[in-house]
Symmetry: C2
Subunit: 333 residues, 2 copies
Amino acid sequence: MVTISDIASALGVTPSTVSRALAGSPRVKAETRAAVDEMARKMGYERNIMASNLRKGRSDIVGVVVPLINREFFANIIGGAESVLNAAGYNVLICQTKESFESEVKALRTLRNYHVAAIMISHSIESENGDHIREIIGERMPLVQFDRVFPDLPGAKIVGENFEGAYKATKYLIEQGYKRIGTLAGYMTCLLYRERLEGYRKAIEDSGMEYDESIVFHDTIVYDKGRESCLKAIDAGCDALYSAGDFSALGAIDELKLHGIDIPSRFGIIGTANESFTALMTPSLSSLGQHPYEMGQAAARAFLEGRTDTEVIPMELLLRQSSNRNNDIQCQK
Amino acid sequence: MVTISDIASALGVTPSTVSRALAGSPRVKAETRAAVDEMARKMGYERNIMASNLRKGRSDIVGVVVPLINREFFANIIGGAESVLNAAGYNVLICQTKESFESEVKALRTLRNYHVAAIMISHSIESENGDHIREIIGERMPLVQFDRVFPDLPGAKIVGENFEGAYKATKYLIEQGYKRIGTLAGYMTCLLYRERLEGYRKAIEDSGMEYDESIVFHDTIVYDKGRESCLKAIDAGCDALYSAGDFSALGAIDELKLHGIDIPSRFGIIGTANESFTALMTPSLSSLGQHPYEMGQAAARAFLEGRTDTEVIPMELLLRQSSNRNNDIQCQK
DNA sequence: TTGTATGCGTTATCAC
DNA sequence: GTGATAACGCATACAA
């Protein structure tokens, strides 16, 4: 374990000089810096990050808190954030809350205790507001929220174009001639699901159709709930669904298959998030793409640049078989 | 920012006592400990992990290094490891190498500099041996390898039952009556792919068929390579493939569809890893299941228990449509 | 441009 | 059972 003192004594200078040299301070002679760098390399020196962080009162870790890590959407967000943060000299500490409020509090406490450089978070379903976040991380630690955000919290936010996206998707189903379009609306504790529901509603109303709460299904973003709600939708006479998530749409499709209802001729469906399985299944599932990698990059940049605004990442309607009743559009992968 | 000194002065004792009390030392009066605990809670004290780690010379972080985070397989391994490690008071720092040797070296250096409690790693494709791992982390830091392992490195290893799995899969294709079975064998730099190839080979030879290197395709575990190799396999007269990965099998299936070759009546295929898309596609893809969550748990436990043995996690042949020529087995999800 | 002195918050080793 | 003291390795304010 070689320290700056070792280098210093080997070179006949003081640890301060070595510290400055290694930090690239301009207040050190080029010649000295060269000698220090060389000696450090020769002796195999590596900075003790814990000591450095303790002294500086902050760390080079950025904490990323997500509900689930084994969702492509979140995995790709992390990948995007990591690419930008690593390039800037930061390391990423990932915590998954598994949608539990308690886990989220625990994760935030841990990150706070590390004095991480910033916290990037997409809150769990169980979190109904951001009080715990504000309370735990205080005022000084940068906060970036992405995807699932609490608008009243300070700091940067990276969000999807939820209202517009849901509007586009619903509108498309209407244009394809579906007559009674329900929605798997998701958790109303999350702003983004409320926004998607509003987009759906606007599209319905703009088309002169009636907004009917009996075919708006909540808490339905997982597979099983998708099946259940789809059954109810069938009973309610629906012939199409906009789903605020892909997994619930998947469940719905399986339920429709079970009932021998053909997709898309008798029933249309569009999901959200563009998980890669949507392109592989039969029928392939149309979906609102979210660009998670870019969201992750944007979140990281917002932190690095000290921004505190809200950035909106476009959502893209990817048309595949499940919504394409008239076969008038080339299906895409 | 409340410290042990703050608690100490509030209570009229010394920081030493507070430290001991909070650490649950038996050398402190129960009464004192209770007072300390209460005051700590009341003042909102949280241990400064960086200071603690610096003093103790180690950290409560376990570093997990994987090739890719947005692969369900690895995401689930991380999930499994995290569940066990969090329960034991550790935090997980995740690094992805994106299959790059250079990134792997960088990640290992970072983790070493944090003096992490242990490193768990599945090496990148570009890493041909474990010299860099041994060199960077030294002798004292616990090392657990999983899935892709270098057998000559010390420490625990958690591996799949690769030989037996590939044997079972290939055997099954033979029993289904396929006559010329090739393999998408993967990267020979990885032991696990070599083992799978050996399992394939044994199954072929045990059945009195000839092992034919011209239908053994290497470097084929990604989608595009799967397509390419499948084309060659078709030209070589194959009527079945065992693929050492699911993504290459997916590519192969798309290539077969393109050529109008029916699966499974004219061509059989089995993948490996049981990525969830395999159950969703049409035809659904039979696959060798890997139990990644359990692998992650096993890796974490190996570290916690200080074991250094090799643990083999069973692989399970999940039969779906793609291999089921005779329709004699109920397809499973 | 470099050296001196100090402290980040905690824990471990002594004493008492 | 508790207190005093030192040290973990580094970074900075200040002095020179």
